[in-house]
Amino acid sequence: MSKVDLSVNIGSLKLRNPILLASGTVGYGSEISEFIDLKKIGAIVTKSISLKPRKGNKPQRILETSSGMLNAIGLTNVGIEKFISEKIPYLIKQDVPIICNIAASTIEEYVECVKILNEEEGIHAFEINISCPNVKEGGLQFGNNEKMVCKITEKIRAVTKKPIIIKLSPNVSNISDFAQVAKKEGADAVSAINTIIGTAFNIKNKKPKLKNITGGLSGPAIKPIALAKVFEIHQKVKIPIIGIGGIMNWQDAVEFLIAGSSAVQLGTVNFIDPTASLKILNGLMDYCKENKIDNISSLTGSYQLD
């Protein structure tokens, strides 16, 4: 049996396989590397980084829901300086492509971050987080505003030649409009989806269970929603899509590829089984072999409508 080609092209970004680790769910890679050989992964998307370190929200930050979890971390991160001095060198040593996810409170901050990081050899691409539901500034006031997305993409495009991925918010009416804007302004790809706004209340003391009041929903509960968003973008806009949302096993990953994704990111599943990415990679390989798929990228958007 001939070998399956698992490599994928996401705009100008070439990756050895389509299994990526999602931002905020693997930190900067050091802890998860005790469980998996990062060399085998398509790429790691690092925890959202901002110009200055961020402390994040007070606890309780995490809450389990039915087949899902809410988080309100609030973009805790070490800041760009420490990221460059400590985190990137480690990942380069692991030989894993780095996609650097950036969060910011102003357009200028995004641009500044990209400018600084653009000089770093190890960074293969930027993922621009305009869709964090857990911060007051730099989250959804960007992600839910087409003009903002337009401006951010345009300004970032002006300062880097590296691939730009815009991470879209699902908390909008038509996600494809945002993908369209991103495309127009020169983004190489979009990733979808970030978490969906949710909340929960303690019925004893009537307080929100999360200190931040609302959080972002992730995990298997959101998979059907995420798939519909990916499908919507794929139907309407010609731009590579990185599918994210509730992927727990290789079957889910295949479903996202069929629905229109060129690659996928794994989030919540890393907390439950830090080796999941490698299992999914193996499952994907076997699926391709069984179905005589030589090239995994031929699965992208291969849905059959009547």
Binding site: F35, K55, P59, G219, N270, F271
Partner: protein
Amino acid sequence: MTITEAQIEEIIELEYNIHLFKVKSPEIANVINPGEFLNIRISDLPIPLLRRPFSVCDVEDDFFYLMFNTMGMGTKLLSLKKPGEYLDVLGPLGNGFNFEGDFDRAVILGGGLGVAPFPYLTRKIKDKKEISTFIGGRTKSDLITYGLENIHVSTDDGSYGFKGNVVELLEINFDNLKNDKLKIFACGPTPMLVAAKKFAEKENIECELSTECVMACGFGICQGCPIQSSSDEDKFLLVCKDGPVFNSKEIIL
């Protein structure tokens, strides 16, 4: 830090609703330290979705023990497991107690199920140090003495032992202890840890607190379990990675 399938050897019901699992796992038993914990996947289904953290309660040869009560769905489902079944265990996790230091007598404070990590600590130190254990509960059936030594008890409702909380119990017994060089090891509900911290600071005694927090990953990748650092206002420590055991001076509760 590994993921293993560990077989349940034996299940002991200590009190109504309080379970002790004896689990076979040389991988864990041979390396885990008192105060460290394990993150357990209770079901293959996405409910419960996340692992649930439990302190290592004790270790004997190739076996580790878990002690838990049923709180919600996860612990309920765990309590329904039978000997012979396997647990999906991730660990050892976190930093445990530092019990090698310069002290003569360990003062162990356990509130309710907060006694869970102390049988193992007791086992490790009883040949080298004196131990005074103070445990408290709301009522008599909350008191679990399994694996503990030299025990003093209190209950909130006075149904057994001293009527009051466990730190008050320590206070009234303090005269008998204070001539030794002491170190406090405390685990229990946050108000109890606050009281223990305050008492330790007042009396200038070394004190380690085993803290709790809702967790997702248990090993530092989700940032879900912050606890305020006392040395740096702008910094949270992580309960799962920097703790769960902290020197009382390191953190603000």
